[in-house]
């Protein structure tokens, strides 16, 4: 069994293992048990997609060529990470609150959800990443060739060396399949991929262990320990500190910028972040990871340069060094490490780029092709998935194509750095948008185009075809012989390192254009809204409104949302919102708040710009209302806060004033009532006393026949009783009002109580007809039955006294809702005029001055007090056929509370 066969077998086994791990992680996440899948450690390890095959293989080559300069690639990200409190925290917070799906989405979202900006960023990212993917494919094929080379060198047997192209194609196909399987399994609303992230984390561990294993072998196995190793380094060709200060600073900066701006880094840093708190772990743990990754780079390079034959590719020392020492197992492990580095980069980059391409290029085109109304017809979900999958395959094979066409000649590190400078062009728009509210869309576009154009011209172009004659003349004498336009010496400023030259010029132009154009232009309302939200993400987590309450049809929105994020999730969102608004069912009011939230949910699947466009199609307007414009005025948050406080205050004042007015009206009326009451009580007391005095004088005078004597005595007796009753009522009321009453709570039946009340109240007169529905009355209640009966008697007696219909009739109807019982007493008389409704329950209030009524006007006041004690109420029920009173009481009265 040759080492090549072993290599293939181990690689395949490793890939199968990764598939299984990713699959298991996805399954666990689906069942909701996968909390540990999102631990700070996993987050930190997933950041290792920063360390690609370039780092794994290329760093050694880099060190062999330029000494310690390779460290800048790690020092930049270290500064970004230890400074997480400044930038990363804000970036992650915004990414989470705005449901950002990619760096293109973030920049487009910040600058008014502009799709043109998203397209520019996407294209730039694809252009910048494609060579990088090619680099990964190249490094794998190179590493494979190292093994075949060794076998051929051994000359024991002739093996058909696998064509490097077919290896690359095989790897590209495998990676596409893996990425499509686990990267587009579903349209995650948060764009998170559990399986992929876990696989990446495993690969992170594998590649670190592989590199450390080789380094340890070189240090302790080949050099005899740390001390001798250091001496050996100093004795080597790279033993002198020779680093160009410009490159040192420039590369540190570019690496830091790339750490933020690389699409794959943005993906793992921001999009896949599940908890802001993970940053605090990653901020120190990932620098440690990078320290370990780079610790043995120089030793391997130094020993490789010493031991390996002249002309051996230093980029492959990590594999060829162990191989040359007969350590096939270590070489194999090292290869797997490099394989891990390459594959994890390609997978994440493909996911990130496919999201961008699909959301910002394919979807908008598809939507436009579908014409108006597209967002509600057809399965958008399906379209998004298909476009994502095609994009992944497209991105990976674009890398493969680049690999094929470029011929794989350039040094690995060069392409990596070129790519870094390219993506760092996003930095001004990104950071400017995060910290400066004055940044505008035209500024961002101009900066990006200018910076990226210069990058193409000064860095990519010279590198692309350095061999051709045209290129040489361009580099030496400039386009059309214009000397000061030479790509590597603009304006005649030559002699600088080409990379630093390109970096300085492109970023200088980028930043200048970004600032100048931003200062000169005025942001659109939506831009200002988004800008305020991004810059002040920590101040207010609430969202300004970008949708006015318009004609948005709730149902249309639901149909659309179902097609994008799936029926159950969409229905859940709509139902929750309806519930929050106090509605039942699935169709809430389309408040600006809700549309805003829905749009953000949708943007988690298709990106902010597309989601905005789709909602706009239904809501019918993408502009911002006057109200919104006011909201973005300076000091927005404070002003709104203040004005809402004022509003609350003034409405409270108005409410108080209204209450005061009502109270005042009532007081005035009560005062009039009190005057009337004094007359009334005087009248009520004097009338019976008049009869008593008159008849007692008559009796005293004597000379009456016995019949008259008896009759007059009875009159005196009756009037005395009437006086007693009046005094009893007054006492009763006063006791009730002072809350000194003891309730005699007991269980009883409502119909029995009603029977009793009707019997008592109607004893004097049978004229009033009473209609009841006895089937409704069979209810058991727990209350003070005597008091309740007193209320009923009063109400029935009132109807008997005051109902002025020719055939007076009283309807008693009983309803029960939950634990509450209502008993309505409705007569067929003229009812009570509405201006009296407020006072009939007051003491001595009498609607008519009819003396024959006989009462003192205390009945209803007493009823009201009793019902209050029983935990219920009695109220006048307007709008009935006649006078109507509603008694409400709980089925079970609690103990009196006051």
């Amino acid at each position: 069994m040759t080492i090549l066969n072993t290599l293939v077998a181990v690689s395949l086994g490793y890939v199968v293992l990764l598939f299984l791990i990713a699959f298991a992680a996805d399954r666990i996440a689906q069942t909701g048990r996968g909390r540990w899948l999102r631990s700070p450690v996993v987050y930190t390890l997933s950041l290792s997609v920063y360390c690609t095959a370039w780092t794994f293989f290329g760093a050694v080559g880099y060190a062999a060529r330029s000494g310690l300069e390779y460290l800048t690639i790690y020092l930049g990200p270290t500064l970004v990470l230890v400074g997480w409190w400044w930038l990363l925290r804000k970036l992650v917070r915004i990414g989470r609150s705005q449901r950002i799906t990619s760096i293109a989405d973030l920049i487009s979202s910040r600058f008014g959800k502009s799709n043109s900006l998203a397209v520019i960023v996407t294209l730039a990212a694809v252009i910048g990443t494609t060579p990088y993917i090619a680099l990964q494919l190249q490094s794998i094929t190179l590493a494979v060739s190292a093994f075949t080379g060794s076998v051929v060198n051994g000359a024991d047997e002739v093996v058909n060396a696998p064509d490097s192209r077919s290896v690359a194609l095989l790897v590209a196909t495998g990676l596409s399949i893996f990425t499509i399987l686990f990267g587009t399994r579903n349209l995650d609303a948060n764009e998170r991929h559990h399986g992929v992230v876990i696989a990446i984390a495993v690969e992170a561990v594998v590649k670190l262990m592989a590199l450390v294993a080789v380094g340890a072998y070189v240090t302790w196995g080949l050099s005899g320990g740390v001390g001798p190793m250091l001496a050996r380094i100093d004795a080597s060709v790279i033993g002198r500190w020779e680093v160009d200060p410009g490159r040192w600073m420039g590369l540190t900066f570019v690496a830091g910028a790339a750490f933020l701006c690389l699409p794959r880094m943005f993906q793992v840093l921001v999009v896949e972040n599940s908890d802001e708190a993970h940053l605090r772990t990653a901020s120190w743990a990932f620098p440690l990871y990078m320290i370990l990754m780079s610790l043995f780079v120089v030793p391997i390079a130094v020993v490789g340069l010493e031991i390996m034959p002249e002309g051996a590719n230093p980029d492959l020392f990590v594999v060829t060094l162990p191989l040359s020492q007969g350590r096939d197992g270590l070489a194999l492990f090292s290869f797997i490490g490099g394989f891990s580095a390459a594959t994890s980069m390609v997978i994440v980059a493909a996911i990130a780029l496919s999201t961008m391409v699909s959301n910002h290029v394919v979807m908008p085109i598809w939507l436009r092709l579908q014409g108006p109304g597209a967002s509600v017809s057809g399965d958008v979900r399906h379209v998004v998935l298909v476009s994502r999958r095609l994009s992944i395959a497209g991105v990976v094979f674009l890398g493969y194509l680049y690999f094929r066409l470029s011929g794989g000649g350039t040094a690995l590190a060069a392409i990596g750095l070129i790519s870094f400078v390219g993506v760092s062009q996003f930095l001004p728009a990104l950071v400017g948008g995060l910290f400066w509210r004055g940044a505008t869309r035209p500024g961002a576009i101009a900066g990006l185009l200018g910076g990226f154009g210069l990058w193409l011209y000064t860095l990519l172009l010279p590198n692309l075809a350095a061999q051709t004659a045209l290129e040489q003349s361009l580099l030496l004498s400039g386009p059309f012989g214009i000397g000061w336009l030479r790509p590597q010496a603009l304006f005649g400023i030559g002699g600088i390192d080409p990379l630093v030259h390109a970096m300085i010029w492109s970023l200088l132009v980028n930043v200048t254009l970004f600032l100048t154009i931003s200062l000169l232009t005025f942001p659109t309302p939506l831009e200002r809204l988004q800008g305020a939200q991004f810059v002040n993400v920590f101040e207010h987590s609430g969202n300004p409104r970008s949708w006015s309450r318009g004609g948005a049809e709730s149902e249309d929105l639901l149909v659309m949302a179902q097609r994008i994020i799936g029926p159950s999730e969409a229905q859940q969102i709509f139902q929750a919102e309806a519930g929050r608004q106090g509605l039942s069912g699935f169709l809430p009011e389309t408040t600006p708040d809700f549309i805003e939230r829905l749009e953000r949910e949708l943007s988690g699947s298709v990106g902010a710009a597309t989601a905005h466009a789709m909602v706009a199609q239904i809501v019918g307007r993408a502009s911002v209302s006057v109200e919104d414009l006011l909201a973005v005025a300076d000091e927005t948050a404070q002003m709104m806060e203040y004005s809402s406080q004022l509003e609350a205050k003034s409405s409270e004042l108005a409410r108080t004033a209204r209450q005061l007015r009502t109270a005042n009206e009532k007081l005035t009326q009560l005062s009039r009532q009190k005057d009337a009451f004094l007359s009334q009580i005087s009248h009520e007391l004097r009338t019976p006393m008049t009869s008593i005095r008159a008849f007692s004088e008559i009796l005293r005078d004597g000379g009456l026949d016995p019949d008259d004597q008896t009759r007059y005595s009875n009159v005196i007796h009756g009037e005395a009783l009437r006086l007693t009753r009046l005094l009893d009522d007054l006492l009763d009321l006063s006791v009730l009002e002072n809350g000194q009453v003891n309730l005699n709570l007991q269980e009883g039946r409502l119909d029995v109580t009603l029977d009793h009340a009707i019997a008592s109240a109607s004893a004097a007169s049978g004229k009033l007809r009473i209609r009841r529905d006895k089937t409704q009355e069979g209810i058991t209640i727990f209350t003070d039955l005597d008091r309740l009966s007193q209320v009923f008697i009063n109400l029935i007696a009132n109807a008997r006294k005051y109902c002025d219909a020719a055939r007076p009739e009283l309807r008693i109807s009983v309803h029960r809702t939950g634990g509450t019982l209502t008993v309505d007493f409705i007569d067929n008389g003229a009812g009570i005029p509405s201006d009296k409704h407020g006072v009939i329950f007051e003491k001595f209030a009498r609607v008519t001055s009819d003396q024959s009524a006989g009462g003192a006007g205390l009945g209803l006041a007493i009823c009201r007090e009793i019902m209050g004690r029983l935990g219920g109420s009695v109220a006048y029920l307007p709008g009935q056929t006649g006078a109507a009173f509603r008694v409400t009481l709980p089925l079970r009265a609690g103990p009196a509370t006051s």
């Binding site: 009248h683 004097r686 009338t687 009869s691 008159a694 008849f695 003396q851």
Partner: protein, 123 residues
Amino acid sequence: MGKEVLLIEDEPNIIEAISFILSRDGWRVHSHANGVDAADVVRMRKPDVVILDVMLPGRSGYDILEELRSDAATRSLPVMLLTARGQTKDREMAERLGATRFMSKPFSNAEVLETVRTLAAEA
């Protein structure tokens, strides 16, 4: 035939008491319990003395008095006002409207009889 007293009052017991006292003294007593048409009854019956309660169903005794005083036929008719609301402002009201006498309830029988006699003699 004795002179006629018209008693406008709604409380049955008081009607009976006053009727008894006056009839014993030889007066013809006619009672009317409703305020609305009380003035018409006065004009129709042309009594010698009117005893008028203030709180009547339908119409207040003050209203009736005012109407009687504005009518030439009844302007000088002796009217004794009876009220259970014995406040000063009631007395003032009665005097202003031209009541011949004012008496608050409860009254003494002798007083009522004396007043009716006096009023009838003056008329």
